[in-house]
């Protein structure tokens, strides 16, 4: 009776065992490193005008709240109306081709359609004001915006990432005066963090309840 399989079939059989292990390791490696890719972290977003946070925040020293006015009062930080741009750009760079979109928006009275960079799923309840009120800095979630010429996502906003702070707020909360400081120094934070959590009245045991974010 002739053989159905050649001798090489043995290698296939043994190889399949090895391959199962290889595939498993690959899946683990890929799933550990795929977050940045699937969430487009570090990729500059296309915007109607090439607005530079680096220039406005770092080089000119404009406070976040100058444009994002409702960040202390409401759930959304707020995008500035074109009039806010015009507080300066009615005087400077008035003829710059980079600002044509802004001028058009102002003259035609239609808002500029910026593309959203950071987006949370609808099943997450998020309120900017409470975070700012309890000492969470803009830079904690949005990254070093003062270093970004064109804005990109620094963090993926996955639940595991939110929970790092919700489980251990001491490591992140800042004094009221430092919330909008891009260069805050965390090196002296050991004892301060605990004090601040107490001072702000943050109830740690509530912070990881499901309904805190999923209402």
């Amino acid at each position: 009776m002739p053989q159905i399989f050649s001798k090489k079939a043995n290698y296939l059989a043994r190889g399949s065992i090895v391959m199962t292990g290889v595939v498993f390791v690959l899946i683990v490696l890929i799933s550990h490193n795929v977050t940045a890719y699937t969430h487009d972290l570090g990729v500059a977003f296309q915007q109607p005008a090439p607005f530079s946070h680096k220039h406005h925040v770092k080089e000119l020293g404009i406070d976040c709240r100058y444009c994002h006015q409702s960040v202390e009062k409401g759930p959304f930080a707020g995008l500035p109306p074109t009039e806010t741009c015009y507080t300066c750009h009615s005087q400077i760079w008035t003829n710059s081709p980079l600002l044509k979109v802004v001028r058009d928006s102002y003259t035609t009275n239609t808002p500029i359609e910026w593309n959203r960079v950071n987006n949370l799923p609808d099943f997450v309840y998020f309120d900017h004001s409470v975070h700012v009120a309890k000492g969470v800095s803009c830079y904690t979630c949005h990254g070093q915006v003062d270093q970004m010429n064109l804005l990109y996502k620094e963090n993926a906003f996955e639940m595991i990432w939110c929970l790092r702070c919700h489980r251990n707020p001491e490591a992140q909360v800042r004094p009221k005066s430092e919330i909008f400081n891009p260069n805050y120094d965390y090196s002296q934070h050991e004892t301060l963090g605990k004090q601040l959590v107490e001072q702000y009245g943050i109830k740690k045991e509530q912070l990881t309840n499901c309904w805190i974010c999923h209402r």
């Binding site: 159905i4 399989f5 059989a13 996955e158």
Partner: protein, 472 residues
């Protein structure tokens, strides 16, 4: 089937009857069983049951798609009965699987030779029954596409399943059960697959069987490793017979719902599972042995053994029913007493009495040798028991939920029929029957290698080696 009746005269004990009837040698065993796969004789009944399975599968597809499209609202589950057909059917199907594991594992460890001719069929039944069972809780979650959340793995949510919940224990119990059963079934198949590979004429069959046989040549080393692996898997499966349904019962017993919160649940559920499982094995074996003419291997002696196990486990289950009533009275707890009286005289009392008849009274006819030796009798009793075991879960699940602590929360349970509960339940029969129908045609339904071993022992019973085997 009546021509089989009275094959053994009343005065002839089955103890002396051979476990393999007819004149068989190793060659005829292979020919008889192997040819079912290789030559594919297809009795008319095969087409009939294939057609029935096809219709059921169609109803499965339709009700499945409708369920996915609309959500679990298409089932009759709602307050106060959040668990209905879905959980009843889950428990029913998973219980049926237990006979397969008991036959293949516990009876192997106990050196019960009669397991040999029915273990493959029973194990296959287990696999398909567990598949049917698993579907229900997965779909019951309402979002089966995120069912992987049930598995503890490092994830982007940074949360784990609730390990204190018996529903999570269920996930581990059932997946372990499916894995070990599938492995056990496959390992047992390997020598037979090799036989078929060597016998097959068609090239595709040769290659397919060859790949699945994993290079089995029947050398002493192969047999040595095979026996060790098979025994080890039997050892692994044995606790599963007890653990899986115990954990399923904890889904209920861990809660505080009256009628669920009793310590008797685990043993009573395990006995019920084996009871239902043997009933299903008989329902499958009785027609199959006739249609495929394998009555030489699955003899009346096997039927008798299975009937006796059914009788024994049935008595345990009946004891469980009596104890439930006794506990309710003895507890003095008004809610337990109210539930017990609701079972006896409430809206669903008909089903409770039907359950007592099906599982408590009807199996008592198995005390009679005449019934145990009548295929028709066994078939009818098995059918009644299968229905009874389904009713048991009905009485336990929605009936308890419909009538718990607060009268203001009392309600009823009505399953949906078209595109809903009933159609989906019917659909899982499509998976089960379709699986069995395909199985008898493409894999040997009786383990040839083990039958040959048994044949050797039967023929050379006086041989010292055979005696040593029996003692060990």
């Amino acid at each position: 089937m009546s021509e089989m009746n009275g094959k053994y005269p009343e005065d002839m004990g089955l103890r002396d009857a051979p476990m393999i009837e007819g004149e068989h040698d190793y060659g005829t065993v292979t020919d008889k069983i192997g040819s079912i796969v290789l030559d594919r004789p297809s009795p008319r009944q095969w087409y009939i049951w294939g057609g029935i399975a096809g219709i059921c599968l169609g109803s499965f597809l339709v009700s499945f798609c409708w369920l996915i499209y609309k959500g679990v609202g298409v089932w009759g589950i709602n307050n106060p009965c959040g668990w209905g057909f879905d959980i009843i059917n889950f428990v029913w199907w998973i219980g049926i699987g237990h006979a397969g594991t008991l036959i293949s594992a516990i009876l192997l460890l106990m050196r019960q030779r009669w397991r040999t001719s029915i273990n493959r069929l029973a194990e296959t039944m287990t696999l398909f029954a567990v598949c049917c069972a698993g579907l229900f809780p997965l779909l019951h979650t309402g979002r089966p596409w995120v069912a992987y959340w049930l598995v503890p793995y490092p994830n982007a949510l940074a949360i784990w399943p609730q390990f204190r919940s018996p529903l999570v224990w269920d996930v581990f119990a059932v997946t372990t059960y499916l894995t070990v059963s599938a492995l056990f079934w496959y390992v047992g198949l390997v020598p037979d697959l090799a036989t078929l590979r060597d016998k097959a004429k068609h090239k595709l069959a040769k290659i397919g069987m060859g790949i699945m046989a994993m290079g089995w040549r029947g050398s002493a080393a192969h047999w040595h490793r095979y026996e060790a692996a098979y025994l080890a898997l039997a050892g692994l499966s044995t606790p599963l017979v007890l653990s899986v349904h115990s954990i399923v019962s904890l889904d209920f017993a861990v809660s505080i719902v009256p009628g669920w919160h009793t310590t008797i649940f685990p043993p009573y559920f395990v006995a019920g599972a084996v009871f239902a499982g043997f009933a299903m094995v008989l329902l499958l074996v009785i027609p199959i042995r006739k249609w495929y003419g394998v009555a030489d291997f699955v003899t009346m002696r096997h039927m008798d053994w299975m009937a006796k196990i059914m009788l024994a486990t049935g008595l345990v289950v009946f004891y469980g029913y009596l104890m439930e009533m006794y506990y309710a009275w003895y507890s003095g707890n008004q809610f337990e007493i109210a539930l017990a009286s609701n079972r006896l005289s409430g809206d669903y009392k008909f089903w409770y009495y039907a359950l007592i008849f099906c599982n408590g009274l009807a199996p008592q006819v198995l005390w009679s040798k005449r019934v145990r030796h009548s295929l028709t009798g066994l078939f009818v009793v098995s059918l009644i028991v299968s229905i009874g075991m389904w009713l048991e879960r009905f009485v336990i699940i929605p009936v308890s939920l419909s009538h718990d602590f607060m009268p203001s929360a009392w309600g009823g349970y009505t399953p949906t029929i078209a595109f809903g509960d009933v159609m989906f339940f019917l659909g899982t029969f499509g998976i089960f029957l379709g699986g069995m129908v395909a199985f008898v045609r493409i894999l040997p339904m009786i383990p040839m290698s083990e039958i040959k071993h048994l044949l050797h022992l039967e023929k050379h019973e006086s041989h010292p080696a055979a005696q040593a085997e029996t003692v060990a």
